[in-house]
Structures are given as C-alpha cells and as structure tokens.
C-alpha cells in the first residue's frame, strides 16, 4: 500500500520565464526519492565561434557583442581586449578609463533590471513586475528611473544602449561630450535617494535560508574591485591564474540535455557572478557599498545562492559611487582624440572581463593576412549552469519533506533567476508541468 505521504511526481518547467534565454527544469521524484534533477539549456545553436572566421580584427568585437543583448557591452569589451592582445595593441589610459565607465554603466543597467524586473516579483509573490504597477507604483517608477539613467549612461559612453559602436580597438571612434558626461555625473549624484530606497526594498525580501558552499570564481585585480580587468581567482585555492590559462579553469564538457557547454574547475562545479565577486573581492568594494552590505546583513563569504540578488545591490551602490568618481576623473583629464590606426597581423589573443552575470572569456586567433581564423567565447551562464543544477540537486531532497511540488518548482525557478542567468547566449526558460 502506498504511503499517503509518499510523493511521486515529475516537474517539467519547459520554458523558464523571467530569465534571459531558454531553459528547462526537469525533476523526477518517486516514492519520496529524488531520482533525477536536470537543468536543460534548450537554446538553439548560433555558432559564433565558427562564423567569426574570416572577419577583420576590428569587426570581431562589433559582431560578437550580438551574443547577448544584456551583456553586449561586456562581450564587446572582452573581445576588444582579446583582439588587442593578439595584435599587440596596448590601449591608452584614457581608453581604459572610458571602457571602465562603459562597463559600470552596464552593471548598473543589468543589475537594476535583474533585481527589479526578474527577482523582486518572486520575493513579493507576484508573477511579474506588471501587478506591481498597481500595488507598488513607487517601486516600478523608481525602477524605470534608475534603468533609464543607467541606459542613458551607456548611450553617452558608447553611442547607444544596445551594441554600442563608439568603442573599438585602441580607443573611441567618437568621444562622449563633456556636457553629456557632466549630466550623467549630476544625475547619478541625484539618484542617491532612489538607490537608498532600493536598499530598503531589498531589506524586506525574504531570502530562502538555503546554503551550499561551492567554489567562487571571479577576476581579481591588485588595485581595484575587478570588473574590467584582472587574473582568474578561485576561492578554493585562494590564488589566481592568468587569463590565457582559461581553458584550465573552465574545462568545458558537453551534456546531452544542454546545448551550452558546462564547466568545472577544482570541484564538480563553480559559481560565477555578483556573489562570487563580492565574496572574493569584498575588501576592494567602495566604503559606501560595504556599509550597504552590513545594512543588508551580507557577510563575506556568503554561501546562499539566493543572496546573489543582494550582492547585485551591493554592486549597484559600488558602481554608482565609483562611476561618479571616474566621470569626475575623465572630466578633469579632458578627453583627446586618439590615433586608432594599427596593422593587422597574425597572432592569438586572450581576454576576460566581468559582466553582470559573471566572468567572461574570449579567445581569438588571426592568420597571416590578419583575418580571424577561429574563436572561443565562454559565457558566465555556461559556467554557472552546472552549479545551478548542483544547487537544485542538493535543494530538492532537502526541501522535499517540507515543500509541495509547486513550492519546489517556484524555488527552483527563483534559484535560476537569482543567478542572473543570461541564457540567450545559449539557452531559454521554463513552464511547469507535473505528471504523476
């Protein structure tokens, strides 16, 4: 006779919503035993790594930004650094400063979108941001104000919000105007009350009390909180390896249920993203961000993946204050037009930067004619999916006695969204279907 409490069911969330990209969660439970948990990445292949062949060096960053709309700035910058590495180009201090500004504008834009549009609805128990327009109009309007500011910031620095064209090898095709940068600086200063309100809402969110320690991988830089540049750091070894050793870090492998490749380094899987960065580089955050961490009860190292959303808010504060300082610096130095000419040549380049969803690697080779002869891009989500699945595998058996399958489904979707998955690089979302 079957135990009345015995649980046997399948969870099949076919298209996960409120993530960037297509993914699917499958869980089989039989007689209270979790038989299988799979995170399927079902995104169609686009083969960027192969079709960059034949391109001129300066075309590569421009085209590979199309890997992802939300991380387009990061893909473009990682590729720019990579091609420069291959061509032996060393960018000027001005160019690096502009790229850091562009980077931080993207962090603000993506984190605000993620926290308010993708994560907050879960925590307040509504299916999307839309019902909040009626119940919490102040929250929605603030989200839109902050997002608009961040988008305008990207547009000023890069020429437009999506797939910006101002950045190229060696420097800027068209420099941002002094007036536009001053305006962004002033608007960022004026946005401080909105940012403080963001902290207030995050304080009210109920974070599930689930912890699983894993390996946290991010860039690390000796002088600053690493977003644009650094070596590859592991929380397991407490040491870094240079970016050109990235294959030894990612160790990519294929699984049949996912069109994105999976990664692991020192253990079965690792975590990339805001939580990994804040864990690994906490001391280098701006004091304002450290204060916010304390206010939100965040203590590094933190092993709760749902706290990734809190880590994102800490980074929002860091980037806002850091941007104000860097804009001041750029305005004081006075930007000058730079010579962007170079001679294309054969070579191989490696590049990495942090994007909102984690560490990103690019690698390109060029033939004797200076044309691209091959590429490799390893996106944050493809590094994270393995760790997300490991989290789900640990979470489901632990919570099975106390959660219904509906609650389990919701929590797994929340978990996926907490990681800030940018699955469009390779994947997409879930629908829920139970068969018993």
């Amino acid at each position: 006779m079957q135990n009345a409490q015995s649980k046997t069911f399948n969870i099949d969330v076919h298209h996960v919503t409120r993530v960037e990209g297509h993914g699917r969660i499958r869980v089989n439970v039989r007689d209270n035993v979790v038989e299988d948990v799979k995170l399927c990445i079902t995104e169609a292949n686009r083969f960027f790594e192969n079709f960059v062949k034949g391109m001129r060096p300066e075309d590569v960053p421009w085209i590979v930004s199309r890997i992802c709309g939300i991380c387009c700035v990061g893909h473009q910058l990682a590729a720019t650094k990579t091609v420069e590495d291959a061509m032996g180009i060393v960018p000027s201090a001005q160019t690096i400063l502009l790229r850091k500004l562009l980077t931080e504008s993207q962090f603000l834009q993506s984190h605000v979108l993620h926290v308010y549009f993708l994560a907050v609805p879960d925590f307040v128990g509504v299916p999307s941001v839309l019902p909040l327009v009626k119940t919490h109009p102040d929250v929605v309007l603030r989200a839109l104000r902050l997002k608009k500011l961040a988008n305008d910031y990207t547009a000023v620095m890069g020429g437009r919000v999506l797939h910006p064209m101002a950045n190229t090898l060696k420097g800027w095709r068209k420099l941002p105007s002094k007036k536009a940068m001053e305006e962004i600086r002033d608007r960022l200063i004026a946005a401080v009350p909105d940012l403080l309100e963001t902290i207030a809402i995050v304080k009210t969110l109920k974070i599930p009390p689930y912890e699983r320690e894993t390996e946290y991988v991010s860039l690390k830089h000796p002088d600053e909180y690493a977003l644009y540049d650094g070596d590859v750091y592991s929380s397991d070894t407490k040491s870094s390896v240079p970016v050109n050793q990235y294959r030894a870090v990612t160790n990519e492998f294929t699984v049949a249920h996912s069109t994105t490749k999976w990664s692991k380094w020192h253990r079965d899987s690792y975590f990339a993203g805001a939580l990994a960065r804040v864990n690994n580089n906490f001391d280098q955050l701006r004091p304002e961000a450290k204060n916010v961490a304390a206010e939100l009860g965040f203590k590094a190292p933190c092993y709760n993946p749902y706290m990734n959303n809190v880590a994102q808010v800490i980074e929002i504060i860091h980037c806002a204050y850091n941007s104000i300082a860097m804009l001041e610096q750029a305005l004081n130095m006075g930007l000058v037009e730079e010579d962007l000419t170079f001679t294309a040549k054969a070579g191989e380049g490696f590049g990495s930067c942090e994007v909102p969803r984690g560490i990103l690697f690019h690698n390109y080779t060029f033939d004797a004619n200076g044309r691209c002869s091959g590429g490799n891009a390893i996106i944050p989500t493809s590094q994270n999916v393995n760790n997300i699945e490991q989290d789900m595998k640990a979470f489901v058996p632990k919570m099975l006695p106390v959660m219904s399958k509906e609650e389990l489904t919701l929590h797994m979707e929340m978990l996926l969204r907490a990681y800030d998955p940018c699955i469009s690089c390779s994947v997409h979302m879930l629908d829920v279907e139970f068969t018993e």
Partner: protein, 258 residues
C-alpha cells in the same frame, strides 16, 4: 477590449525585447493601452490567442519551425522584431558552413557524435539552417535593425492601435546620414552599406564615428553593381567589399554575381 500583445524569442541576443523595455518614459502608457499576455523576459504568464505577436530571433531547428507555426496560427498580426527575425542576422553566416562542421568546431567531434545519437535530446541538437521567419510563416510587419529602433516600434504600435498600417518609407540610410551632415564614410576610405540599406535608424552608427554595416537589410531595387563599383572606385578592395556584404548577411543574396 485591449489588444492582446505577446513577445516570443528564437535564436537571438534578445536585445530587441530589451530595447522595448528600454522605452522607460512611455512603457507604462503603452502597457495601459494593450494587454501584455506573454513576455518571457518579464512575465510568467501564457495565453491562447494574440492580436499582435512580436517575434525576435531566427529559425534554426525543426522544433523552432513547429513553434513559430503554432504562434502564427494563434495570431492576428505577426511582426518580425529585429534583424534576426527579418533576415537571419549575423548568425546566418553559419549557413556558409555545414551544420556538422559547426558542431565539430564548437563541441568537438566526439561530443557532436554523442549528443546527436541521443534520441531524447535530438530536437535540441537538430540544427538545420538559419532562416528569417518569413521563410517559414507569413510576416505582416517588419521592424528592422540590430537592434530595432524604439521609435519605429512605437510607430507600429500606435498605427495598429488606430487600425492603420504603419508607414516605413524605403529610404536609404545614406539619405538620413546626409541630413545629419556627417562626413561621407567613403572619403575616409572605408566601406559603407548606407546607400543600399533600409533607413529608419537615423544613421546612428555613422553619427557615432562608425560606418553603416547594413544591419537593416538591403532596400528593394537596390543597385548592387553600382554600389560595388562605387566602392571599387574609392579604392576599397574586392575582399573587403565581399566581407562587408557578408557581415550581417544582408547583402549577400542580393550581391550574388555583383
């Protein structure tokens, strides 16, 4: 009754949906005029029928074909949203290479063979050919560009709400570029697709110091041979011209034999 509007994505960067979310100033006004029934990036809900379906991304697999046909059957109007849906976009470059070669390069030969014989997951891996959506289903309206221009999206939505067809004049990017008084790209010795590319972007790339790469597709009746001759006369070599025609894949079919 408010029109039911839905968004769907296929192979793409999802930047065009983001471009719509980026209309912060009027987003709430639009949402007040329509009923948003599916928008995977922001919404968990689903619906049976749509008055307007916006489709982002290109079609790569059999399962994508089934899905787009189903969406078409349930939609009154279907809009191709962005360069991937309109013309395949950059990923259509992979059509120049056999799918098996692409898999081999990206996943390795052993992995390619292993995943392709796994029956359960075969639909995931059954890549055929990159196609714009009008190669599979009828498209009512096109919003061009990589990414789309938010102003054109708003124009389309307003027109449909008023029961009229949106007017998108077939001007070249070159016309808009001249209005902006940019220095001609050809005088800088670079390739430019501006003279043969659908306008509507206000020449945003040239305004920001770059060239036009033709991400909005080739104009109907564009004079490709004249365009090519013009670039040759400006001293641009054949290989660079061909590479540029292929970059966004917009001019490649049109430029055959040019």
């Amino acid at each position: 009754m408010k029109p039911k509007v839905a968004f769907f994505d296929f192979a793409s960067c999802e930047g065009c949906q983001l471009a719509i979310l980026n209309c912060e100033d009027i987003l709430l006004d639009i949402l007040g005029l329509v009923e948003l029934v599916e928008f995977r990036e922001a919404l968990s809900e689903k619906a049976p029928r749509y008055d307007v379906a916006f489709i982002e991304g290109s079609i790569h697999r059999d399962e994508d074909i089934e899905r787009i046909k189903d969406i078409r059957a349930r939609s009154t109007f279907l809009v191709a949203l962005g360069a991937c849906a309109c013309m395949g976009n950059v990923q259509a470059r992979s059509n120049f290479v056999a799918p098996a070669e692409n898999y081999k390069y990206v996943y390795g030969e052993e992995a390619r063979n292993r995943v392709q014989i796994d029956e359960e997951y075969w639909p995931l891996w059954g890549h055929t050919r990159v196609r714009p959506i009008d190669k599979v289903v009828k498209v009512d309206f096109y919003l061009r560009g990589c990414p789309i221009v938010p102003g054109e999206f708003l124009h389309l939505v307003k027109s449909l709400l008023h029961g009229t067809a949106p007017h998108t004049p077939p001007n070249a990017v070159c016309v808009e570029c001249k209005k902006n008084e940019n220095e001609c790209v050809y005088d800088r010795g670079e390739t430019c697709m501006g003279p043969i590319t659908w306008g509507g972007c206000n020449a945003v790339c040239v305004n920001n110091g770059y060239v036009c790469d033709g991400c909005r597709g080739v104009l109907p009746h564009a004079n490709i041979p004249a365009h090519k001759t013009l670039m040759l006369e400006k001293g641009i070599n054949d290989a660079d011209i061909r590479s540029r025609y292929r970059l966004f894949c917009s001019a490649e079919p049109a430029a055959k034999g040019a």
